[in-house]
């Protein structure tokens, strides 16, 4: 039996791998392992990034509020008693502060808390923005003057930090803003249920706030700034970029001039964004005298930055339309322009849209050029009331707002910077998801 099998086994048996094949297979296995390792490292980094961002930023979406019953005394808020809004507006936030202090004192008296704190020290638990909050509320509902309302006040950022574990009894040793007695009162109010953490919509919709009141700062206004910039970019970069690409790709003669233009467009895509910023400063602000810090200028600068991206992706998608379609259109007697607009452009549209959205997403996350045109900094504007003011009034942008918060001293702002990053990422992921969906939806096979 053994003899027989020996005699039938050929010299180069396929059942036995030769040394060369073994070496080759090992090399392949090694290469696959490198690939898996590289991807794993990448994924690990992504997970760490997301966990860090969400871990640090999620807190910004919650804020500590103190619920108090406030007496809206007519004698203080509307001395004439005729509910005239103009008269009510004359009462500044200083007029409201005593009402809040009284409400807090009453609360402390009601709940059986022993506290040696003076009323002023008690009131320090509330945010410096709380009076403005109440004033806005009264101006919106003047009918409630003279009654008692349950109102949810923002607390000081230290109280908020204490609730979130950022501020501890040990850490306040050198802190002048809050002392141990005040924290005792906070503990009592927590037990009472008046002090609690809640979802803070104002962080998403509100305006930035000054250094002393991080608890009141929000992304909303800078989000509107970003939105107006994106509108400017979309309105300018898409038509200009698509028109330029169509001309270059379909109509322009192929000679050294168009070659130079082509090379330069590719180079423009690689120009650092701050260069576009200083160009915007020189041209739009210093020469054309457009207002500083305006989303219109930001949009123009970002348009310059986005154009190469849009042109490159549009040209690529025009190129990918098979020439047979152009031949077919020309063959039945369509003019060049008809063949482009009736056939080539619709087929290239999904690619153009994808490129545009990716260009917009890039522009949305851009900070550096905004530094130079004054869109980074404390911009204490409220939400614009129309398209003109949205374009021309000073505003910030989401990434600029994040940068601004990140460089402020109070750790409460640091938390808000991470929270802002979460919002920005949600926008970017949404835009990219739309781009992917469009590509999937309209992808064609030839």
């Amino acid at each position: 039996m053994t003899d027989m099998s020996n005699s039938t086994t050929p010299q180069n048996s396929l059942l036995r791998q030769d040394a060369r094949t073994i070496r080759r297979n090992r090399a392949e296995t090694r290469f696959k392992a490198y690939g898996v390792a590289a991807i794993s490292v990448g994924l690990l980094m992504l997970v760490i990034l997301l966990v860090t961002i969400i871990g640090r930023g999620a807190g910004a979406f919650q804020q500590t509020f103190l619920t108090l019953d406030v007496q809206l005394l007519e004698a203080k808020l509307d001395k004439k008693g005729n509910r005239d809004l103009e008269d009510i507006k004359k009462v500044s936030t200083f007029g409201y502060a005593p009402l809040m202090a009284a409400a807090l004192e009453k609360k402390v008296a009601q709940s059986d808390v022993e506290s040696d704190l003076k009323p002023k020290e008690m009131a320090a638990l509330l945010s410096k923005d709380a009076a403005a909050q109440l004033r806005d509320f009264v101006l919106a509902n003047p009918d409630l003057i003279g009654t008692s309302v349950e109102f949810r006040f923002l607390t000081n950022s230290r109280v908020d930090g204490y609730m979130k574990g950022r501020v501890t009894r040990a850490s306040i040793a050198n802190d002048k803003s809050i002392n141990a007695e005040q924290l005792d009162l906070v503990d009592a109010l927590i037990k009472d249920g008046a002090l609690e953490k809640r979802f803070n919509l104002a962080f998403i919709t509100g305006a930035d706030a000054s250094d002393a009141r991080p608890e009141a700062a929000g992304m909303g206004v800078s989000m509107i700034g970003s939105l107006f910039m994106m509108l400017v970019v979309l309105a300018l970069a898409l038509p200009i970029g698509v028109a330029a690409s169509i001309y270059l790709e379909e109509f322009a003669p192929k000679n050294w001039i168009t070659d130079i233009i082509e090379v330069n467009i590719s180079n423009l895509a690689a120009v650092p964004s701050i260069v576009f910023g200083i160009l915007g400063l020189a041209v739009f602000i210093n020469y054309m005298h457009l207002p500083n810090s305006a989303p219109l200028v930001g949009g123009l600068v970002l348009t310059l930055m986005t154009l190469p991206t849009i042109i490159i992706s549009t040209r690529a998608s025009l190129k990918s339309v098979p020439p047979s379609i152009r031949d077919a259109a020309l063959g039945v007697g369509a003019s060049k322009m008809q063949s482009v607009f009736h056939h080539v452009l619709p087929l290239a549209a999904p690619g153009i849209l994808t490129g545009t959205i990716i260009g917009l997403a890039q522009a949305l996350g851009e900070t550096a050029p905004l530094l130079l045109i004054g869109m980074v900094g404390f911009i204490a504007s409220n939400a614009p009331d129309g398209i003109a003011s949205g374009l021309m009034d000073p505003n910030s942008a989401m990434p600029a707002q994040i940068y601004e918060w990140a460089k402020r001293a109070d750790p409460a702002f640091y938390e808000r910077a991470w929270g802002g990053i979460i919002i920005l990422l949600v926008f970017l992921i949404t835009m990219n998801a739309i781009a992917v969906m469009l590509r999937r939806r309209f992808e064609r096979r030839w």
Binding site: K254, D327, A328, L330, G331, V332, G333, A334, S335, L347
Partner: protein, 265 residues
């Protein structure tokens, strides 16, 4: 050859439709067509045969100025259709292409509905005044392209969803919907199976009643089956031009004979 003789009797005209005189075509420095002169008759199928790269497609594309779209391509000499020089500076190639339709090697329907594929030409040339006229034009073109029965129930279905042979007949319908006078076909059957090829060939023979058809083909059998006149191209030269049966039975030039018998090409 029997088919061929029958169709030979059908030729009713000797009228010259296209007349080329000393045509030279250059791609940059490279001379692709060398001094070609040929007279193509009306209501006749003329086949261009020859080995790959011999310039037959290039010459075909000169007849409706499709070569204009290639930047480096330059045409010298005269090509006259009905006595008019189509390379005259006052001729708009778009108008010319409405008169000289073209069917390409690879079926290339627009990624639109079957109806829109055929209606596109008449629409851009303003051949119909209203929807029902356009419907008639589409129906007539699809019928003449012998595809009406297969698609009449799904005119709104995409043209790209048809089989290869159907797509090519759709492209023929699209080309004849604009009522051209000359139909150029660049290897229309090279991407088709034998059954679809037979259908298209039959169609070409029918189209001869109304058009001057010029077909480029790699298949000598196809040239023999569908054409009345054959031109043999070799290395950019028009070697021999004459009645199809004469070219295939008693060619004058030794190069033609070598090609036909399979020794070159």
């Amino acid at each position: 050859m029997k088919d061929n003789i029958i169709s030979e009797m059908d030729v009713t005209t000797d009228k010259i439709k296209i007349s080329a005189r000393n045509v030279q075509v250059y791609y940059g420095e490279n001379r692709a067509i060398k001094d070609v002169s040929v007279e193509i008759q009306d209501k006749t199928v003329t086949a261009f045969i020859g080995p790959s790269g011999c310039g037959k497609s290039t010459f075909l594309r000169c007849i409706n100025r499709m070569n204009d779209t290639i930047d480096i391509c330059r045409v010298e000499g005269d090509i006259l259709i009905d006595g008019e020089d189509i390379y005259d500076s006052s001729v708009d190639p778009v108008q010319l292409r409405a008169k000289v339709g073209m069917v390409f090697q690879k079926p290339n329907p627009f990624p639109k509905s079957i109806y829109d594929n055929v209606a596109y030409g008449p629409r851009i040339h303003g051949l119909s005044r209203n929807k029902s006229e356009l419907d008639d034009i589409v129906e007539r073109a699809l019928k003449r392209a012998a595809i009406w029965n297969e698609v009449k129930d799904r005119l709104q279905a995409p043209g790209t969803g048809l089989s290869g042979g159907q797509q090519q007949r759709l492209c023929i319908a699209r080309a004849i919907a604009t009522e051209p006078e000359v139909l150029l076909m660049d290897e229309p059957c090279s991407a088709l199976d034998p059954i679809a090829t037979a259908q298209v060939e039959e169609l070409i023979d029918e189209l001869r009643q109304d058009y001057s058809v010029v077909i480029v083909t790699h298949s000598m059998q196809q040239a023999a089956r569908v054409s009345q006149k054959t031109a043999f191209f070799h290395l950019g030269n028009l070697v021999e031009y004459g009645a199809t049966d004469k070219i295939f039975t008693s060619p004058e030039d030794p190069r033609t004979e070598s090609y036909i018998t399979g020794r070159i090409g």
